[in-house]
């Protein structure tokens, strides 16, 4: 990647060093803890699915049972290892009986370290075989899909009904979309369980459920077939069920998932400890399943000023990069987020946006950067909105962003109509063609506004990372370093689901995943 902005490589290296220190400190904390969501994910990977007679997911029934009557700090694998050994039943059968209160797992609480993990592994291998098959399907599709050098066009569907979402997604794919994101119902991130089955309700989107994932993937496979190119599917993992939803995504072949280490903390007031522990398992799973993660730095700029706080986005990208590396993730899966949100009334706003987008590209040359459109300064003037989106599109194409989330002229009015999306795709396709190689022709005045802006943002990010390294990430969050929102380590939702690991705690499934990710033995 060329260095048009002449960024100081030593400063960039130093940023990475600070971010690594921040992630190292936090990883020590993460490794000492588990959560209800992590343990439920283990159960899902053992093949447990479905709900009990009250509609409660079986994985919740089992974990709630242990929290109430046993000791979750020993890990659910401890209990399931013994149970499978004793009963010779499948984890699914055991879970059904636990949910019906016909099996009390707490009888194993005082047993020593479980010697029967080997008996759990075949169930886990069965799930992984399914994930492997999905990876193979995906990569053969990607091989068949014509390669392009311009960004992938990403649009959202958000009708609140999975069957309407499918119609909208098909239309979007036919209009040239490369990636479809199904928006979740507002508030799902705060549910401490994953709803079950197909859903036709929700506000601002419908629920992320395994069945909804499957239905949408099936529809997109069909349209991929018709279009002769692979249409990628996105949903959201961030929230109280982050690793569980990542597991469901791996099983149903989602291609990208929103998976930020800090987003839930800052914007959903989820407990910081809970989120940081959960994001780790979630990212190990995504690394294994080759799901591109999307991080949520763009959101900082909807709360804070996009010009004054651009450096917080960059600092957070460095931190997210290091957390992803901790989870064994390849750079090609790190969809670091940023956004085009500078106030259009600002003089030279386009130059600053260009500077920031080019800067992100040069600092993270191999990451599939996710670039978000204007939202904060969209007004309801749909005609001006088209032009705001056009300037954003030009920036996305010219600075070689990877995941190009299209702006909607009706942003701030309603969730997009089918026609809003089609218009956005038409405009983006036009600009994609018209500006195709513009970025390669572009040079910047070495003493000009754009170069100076990029240098300033990098310098500020460097200072901020140094401060965060010195104070620690928990304290940085408490000080409101990101989005000017303060979150305390003991505050927010979900803290009661965090457990310090007991000395006999084991998570053979996470260990196996980590090992395979590290060895790259999962690679074809």
């Amino acid at each position: 990647m060329n260095n048009k902005l002449n960024l100081n490589q030593e400063t960039i290296q130093s940023c990475r060093k600070y971010a690594k220190d921040i992630a190292d400190q936090m990883q020590r904390f993460i490794d000492q803890h588990t959560t209800v969501a992590v343990e439920r994910t283990v159960l899902r990977l053992l093949g447990i699915d479905g709900v009990d007679e009250f509609g409660r997911p079986l994985v919740n029934a089992v974990i709630d049972h242990i929290v109430k009557t046993g000791d979750l700090s020993k890990g659910i694998s401890h209990y399931m290892g013994y149970a499978v050994h004793d009963t010779e039943e499948t984890p699914q059968e055991i879970a059904r009986r636990v949910a019906a209160q016909k099996f009390d797992l707490s009888i194993y609480t005082n047993e020593g370290r479980c010697p029967y993990f080997g008996e759990l592994m075949p169930f886990f291998e069965r799930t992984l075989a399914r994930v492997d098959a999905m990876k193979n399907v995906r990569s053969s599709w990607i091989d068949k899909t014509p390669k392009k050098t311009t960004p992938s066009k990403y649009v959202i569907v958000a009708t609140g009904n999975i069957y309407e979402d499918i119609k909208q997604a098909i239309s979007a794919a036919k209009k040239g979309a490369d990636i479809i994101a199904v928006i979740r119902s507002t508030g799902q991130s705060l549910l401490d369980y994953v709803p079950f089955g197909p859903t036709t309700e929700g506000f601002g989107g419908t629920y992320a459920t395994q069945e909804n994932f499957r239905l949408m993937r099936e529809a997109l496979d069909q349209v991929s077939e018709e279009e002769g190119r692979y249409i990628k599917l996105v949903n959201y993992a961030s929230g109280l069920c982050m690793p569980e939803i990542a597991a469901m995504g791996a099983i149903e072949r989602l291609d990208m998932m929103l998976n930020d280490s800090l987003y839930g903390i800052i914007f959903r007031d989820i407990n910081p400890k809970r989120t940081l522990i959960d994001q780790y398992f979630s990212r190990v799973l995504s690394s294994y399943a080759e799901i591109i993660i999307n991080t949520g730095e763009d959101n900082y700029l909807t709360t804070s000023d996009a010009f004054d706080h651009a450096h917080t986005v960059l600092a957070s990208q460095f931190i997210n990069e290091q957390f992803a590396k901790k989870a064994g993730m390849k750079e090609s899966l790190m969809g670091l987020g940023h956004a085009y949100e500078i106030d259009p009334n600002m003089e030279n706003s386009f130059l600053y946006e260009l500077a920031q987008a080019e800067m992100a590209r040069e600092i993270f040359p191999h990451a599939p950067l996710k670039y978000m459109p204007p939202t904060k300064h969209m007004t309801g003037d749909i005609f001006k909105g088209c032009v705001q989106d056009a300037l954003f599109n030009i920036t996305a194409v010219s600075t070689h962003q990877s995941i190009h989330l299209l702006g909607m002229m009706t942003e701030a009015i309603h969730t997009p109509f089918m026609s809003d999306r089609a218009i956005a795709l038409n405009i983006a396709s036009y600009i994609e063609k018209a500006f195709k190689d513009f970025g390669n022709e572009m040079m910047f005045n070495p003493d000009g506004i754009i170069v100076k802006r990029a240098h300033d943002v990098l310098q500020h990010a460097h200072e901020l990372l140094q401060e965060i390294k010195d104070e620690g990430l928990f304290q940085a969050l408490e000080k409101g370093r990101f989005a000017e929102i303060s979150r305390k380590p003991e505050g927010g939702k979900g803290l009661s689901g965090v457990f310090v690991k007991h000395e006999i705690y084991d998570n053979p499934i996470l260990d196996a995943l980590k090992k395979r990710v590290k060895e790259g033995s999962h690679e074809r």
């Binding site: 098909i170 239309s171 036919k174 914007f267 007031d269 909807t302 709360t303 009334n345 309603h414």
Partner: protein, 251 residues
């Protein structure tokens, strides 16, 4: 004014030409039938001489139309009633001077985006230092203590915080309005206030892209502010209302 001049139609380039543009999608594949259906729909909306100036396929079973035509309908503006907050709007400096001269202690504003609504753009625009579009938020006003509780705040939590912080004014922002979820949530907050016998303790104001003053009054709020309203609009209304209620007023 003559009687005739109170009747108006949309204006294209000539008085009374009634020219309008509309665009919509139909659940039909693109083709002659779709265009005919689009024209017919326009006619039924009272659009004369509808011209489909653009039509395109959205998928195999949906199509999109841009239509121009002349509206047959007209309105008598003398018969219209508009409900606006109807207060006089002061600048930030005027609000600060008003507080200084009328009140004995700082006024407390507590705000949140409530229910399942996670969007804080609206409440941030009104409350945060930076404000929006060059108009500072309430946090920066002298004489105002502003507490922004952020998004997805339960109604119960908002009320509890308002009591704890001794709020004079409660601000509620609602952005997601799909299936009227905001109406339900806003109604519930008023019911909660009444159940707790607290309705008279606060000025309660709502805001959001789909909120109007009329709706706010209907739901039992003191005022509602829609798009293009800033902190000074909200503050102007609130300080005058507090003064008229005699809250913290200088004798």
């Amino acid at each position: 004014m003559s009687a005739k001049s109170t009747w108006i139609r949309p204006y294209g380039d000539t008085e009374n030409d009634g020219k309008v543009q509309l665009s919509f999608s139909l659940p039909l594949e693109l083709g002659a039938l779709g265009e005919e259906a689009a024209k017919k729909i326009a006619l039924q909306m009272g659009i004369h001489d509808p011209a489909v100036v653009h039509a395109e396929a959205l998928s195999d079973s949906f199509s999109f139309y841009i239509v121009y035509g002349r509206s047959e309908h007209q309105v008598d503006i003398s018969s219209l009633h508009v409900v606006e907050a109807g207060h006089h709007v002061m600048t930030k400096e005027e609000v600060e001077a008003y507080i200084e001269s009328h009140f004995i202690e700082p006024l407390v504003f507590v705000g949140a985006s409530t229910g399942t609504d996670a969007h804080t753009v609206g409440i941030d625009a009104i409350m945060n230092m930076k404000g929006y579009n060059g108009n500072y938020g309430l946090e920066r006003y002298k004489g105002i203590k502003a507490y922004n509780l952020g998004g997805q705040v339960d109604n119960e939590v908002l009320l509890q915080k308002a009591i704890e912080l001794k709020a004079d004014v409660i601000l509620i922002s609602q952005t997601v309005t799909q299936k009227d979820v905001h109406i339900e949530n806003l109604t519930q907050f008023i019911e909660l206030l009444e159940a707790e016998n607290k309705r008279q303790d606060f000025i309660v104001i709502i805001g959001g892209p789909r909120i109007q003053h009329g709706l706010a009054k209907e739901l039992g709020y003191d005022a509602g502010f829609g798009p293009k309203k800033y902190a000074f609009d909200v503050a102007s209304f609130a300080v005058e209302r507090l003064y008229s209620r005699g809250v913290k007023v200088k004798k």
